[in-house]
Amino acid sequence: MTYRLGVDVGGTFTDLLLFDQESGAFWRHKTPSTPHDSSEGILNGLEAICEKAGITPADIEFFLHGTTVATNAVLEGKGSRVGLIVSEGYRQVMQIARSFVPGGLAGWIVWPKPEPLAALEDTVEIDGRMDANGNEVRPIDDAQIRKALETLRDAGVEALTVSLMNGYLNGAHETRVGELAAEIMPDVPISLSHEVLPEMQEYERTLTTVANAAVRPVVGSYVRALRSQLRAGGMAGSLSLLRSDGGLMSSEKSEEHPVSLLMSGPAGGVTGALWVAKNAGLKNILTLDVGGTSTDVALIENLEARRVRTTEVGHLSVRASALDVKTVGAGGGSIAYVPELTGALRVGPQSAGAVPGPVAYGKGGTEATVTDANVVLGYLPESLLGGSFKLDREGAKAAVQKIADALGIGLMEAARGIIDIVNENMFGALRMISVQQGYDPRHFALMGFGGAGPLHVNAVARLMGSWPAVSPVSPGVLCALGDATTQMRTETARSFSKRFDETDEASVIAILEEMAAETRAELEAEGISPSDINTSFELDVRYEGQAFEVPLSIDPETLRKDGLAAVRARFDEEHERLFTFNMDSAHELVNLRAVALGPALELGRFNLPEGNGDPSEAKIRDHELWADGKMAPAVIYDRSKLRAGDVIPGPAIVIEMDSTTLIEADCVGTVDAVGNILINLA
């Protein structure tokens, strides 16, 4: 018997999901995270979930892990001290950045400028220059480079980055610096920009390479420690990490290229949603992952999640492939307030976070949050399943009453207002990834997960016209589910920057084949059989001079058969869909990518017992909640007792260990074969 274990480490909880590959049976477990050393929480969870399933860690063949360790190192400034070698005249490339100041006119007055990720005092210039065709304009000087490296070594840098102008076209100078560095500072990890990101734009390439270098030691020591502890615990299977783009990579590879992990956390939710969608027979999904301080949304079309070439972390925009996940500062902990000057009701982006948290948690919070409004309205019952944790409804009421008074409206109206506004913010984020990209949300289902997603999914689906609203099975551990069910993936990218009339199929294919061989070799090195590896190509195309590239996937055969003319036609079609017009301008092939995918999973499916359509077996008690401007009778159900085919009329609440699903008054929820609740208009 083989088992797959998905593990997602969040800020508060570590979620685990164990899969029996053959039967599709699964077990889940939640254990408190241990921020001082997350592997502690992971091992606790491992032990507990093995016990539940009656297996030992040795039975686990695949350990699949989504982690925010790289993200947090960047956000909290806990990365390594990075030394940076740049071309003459470019010492301040990180200081000047893109000269961008956020916040509109006069925004500069209140903008705190972040410190560069590589300190200016650890940035050194060297002579030598490549031009925009990759030809050497001026040579480098070994003696000067040695001196620069010695300076950085003596200053105590923990990682070294080399990023020279036009290095993406000719990496010879960077390579030489790397050789000398290996000699002078043998213990310091070295990142060369033309290897990490062979793409145009010096600031983005430098930032990406520096970010990679900054998180390398942190990620490396985390991964090594985890691996050795798992081995000590008897787990002999493979350890892989979830990349930002939703693919898996081996833990060894992740030590070299941790910049690919920056969105590992949110990617787990999206890959989990993909798995659920497949089982529920849905092809097009919008995801709504509602956490305490923020909400992540993504778009899945035809069981493929959209990818982007940029990973946004805090104020940094790093060039690494990621699932196209947008984040808004709207979550359960978002604080509601009424500024005196305008008398407007605002919700977020300030958040009560985990501490003190919402008033209802009774941990010292005093300001009304979205969770408090949900409690006041009866959407979150006072006692959750298990009964260990009781919500302070009176406290929540008092806090929301303050908002109501400031607005001059009733308590329930104010609470509902807070919910409407936060839903609207989520709606705004969803529009950006759907309507704004030319997709009609009415062709998508909306899946809500994370602790609070299933509470909001019904209302947001109504705003979007995206039906059904889906509360997936185990919404609280969906990220771990995603970790457990995705496949190996690797890719490599190159800047190309040529007009179609400056190149031809043959030369494009030659480069792509070379890149494909690289990526296949990587997966083979991971022990995947060559016959299980699938290769695909991606071409970024734009009208010459445009800022925005459209990524087009194409398989090698089609490219050979139909040539670049077909690519051009595909681009025009996609451009028309996105922007409503085409142009006569020349087409430019901007970047080339080769992607290699490991075998797709063939997991069994675990079906719920068939019910008779009547959910009353699962009923816990009668309840009241706010619907359509008045208190209305409702029913609370226990999710674990629902049967396939059960039909739940709204208004109703379905509770489980770590999540609550709200079915609104004029809607009805249907339980599908595997336990997802699909909500539709009645």
Partner: protein
Amino acid sequence: MPARIIQENEAPFATVDIDPVTLEVIENALRNARIEMDATLVRTAMSPGIREQGDAFPLIADSKGRMIVGQFGSYIGPFLDGFDGTVEDGDLIFLSDPYSVGGAISHSNDWLVLMPVFKDGRLVAYTSMFGHQSDIGGKVPGSMPIDATSIFQEGVRIPPVKLWKQGQYNEDLMKLVLHQVRTPEWCSADLNALIAACRVAARRVVELCERFGDDVYASATNLLLDRNYRAMKHLVETSVSEEKVSFQDYICDDGLGYGPYKIRCTMWRENGKVILDFDGTDPQSQASINFFLNENMMKMFFGIYMIMVFDPQILFNDGFYDLIEVRIPKGSLLKPKFPAALSGRTHALGRLFDILGGLLGQKTPEFLNAAGFSSSPHLFYAGTDKNGKWFQLFQIGFGGIPGRPLGDGPDGHSLWPGFTNVPNEFLERYFPLRIERYETVPDSGGAGLHRGGNGIDMVYRFLEPGVIAIHDDRWFVPPWGVNGGLPGKRARKLLVKADGTEIVMGNKVEDYPVEAGDMLHFITWGGGGWGDPLERDPALVLKEIGQGLVTAQGALDYGVVIADDGSVDADATEVLRTTMRAERPADGGPFNFGPDIETLRANCLEETGLPAPKQPQWHSSLAEAAE
């Protein structure tokens, strides 16, 4: 004759009650629609000016033309007043002539599209956007000849015309316009992008009307306007005194050898209204540095500075306009008479923000930042390369951000919203040039407890012969410091020929020939300092020396003495600081302007390498006081 609105359905919108939550939802939705306009534009525009640098501005207005979301306030009202035509379903109005819209756009390079949004035969909104075109023809590449003496030299001028008329596209009009410009592909793409952005916003407005009802939408926008009115009324009453305060600053020169030009503004509250009176501003220039300032735009600038501090989440809209009165003398630099040249207005536009900051800050210290909104420096480089292909670069540069109450001014960053620099590898890939250095100038930010941001030294090496033009300011009158902070360093331009000969270039130069191999140092100004530099932590000064942002010599402005071994000499620092404190003049007010104009003139050649600008002379009839 004002515009005639043709509607099939003339029924006015009913005023209905709106609960605060619906209002909030509509406000948010409009905010998102505006973000969508920006996103659409950036993705589809092509000229580096709009695409990479973001030189474009969106607007959504109500059915009366009042701005609900946007940046610079609505020009639609004045436009409708002056438009001799109809506004109908399916129309799209296109224009670029500042004189046709009361200066709502301020030079002909800005192409503006305006789309009336109809639903069920009724006008419900306008969406509009304007963006800076890289070239619109005229006497020089880039179409902003600083030495122009009339707007006829500044390229194609488009009066308000219908590019789409009741759904019919006027292709001939577009052909005619694009025939006048040097970069028809860019202009055509950028215009398409502006239109696409307006269409996106128009769709969003119609969707909102469908979702909430037309009456609810109209009533909500009225309430949003009203909310701004109330907020601003409160701010005006508490923050603007009845006593008059004045502030003045200068444009250094006009590119023809004359300057500086004074801009003066006096502010007071009278009968609950703020008066902003530009009496005392110099008359219009012969050259193109005139800035045709629209009164509404000035109101918006004022409002944004006020609201920013108190509720930055508020959407700026036109609701508070009645609370502000702007008086601009006709024939002055800020209200020139047709056909005065306008293309070089960026310097006065920038200076206006320094003046606004200085004006408000005199009585409300929370607003007081140092100066640094110099201008929007431009470099143009054009020619024909060895393959016979025309190239044309228009690039916007950045200087130092002023020292602020919050902290140091960032080095080499943008004061303009949404602007970014262009990656140098991009420039090198697409233009025949190499950027040899791209760094900030140590010590150029004014010393202060909070240092002003450093200006940038961007070194262009031209690889093909061609012509360049330079537009910058703050090379003669320095950006001032506040609350004890020192002024920032001034801008400079230096051309180094292949044989090493150095030529100090003016900061407003047109059509200057360069040879392959020439290097241009394009050096921008530093921001003024904020607060007493003698209070700055010597350890921080030392750190910045190590970072190359300040020099050991520059540290003396902070009273910090660096020993031979590179550490801070604590004793000598203490002595120097004590001496400096004793020797400096007693409190002379919050501003440090540096030397007066006459002293600047006297030392100009020695300090800048350029002759001092000559005092402009005016024909007396040009300067009429405002009514």
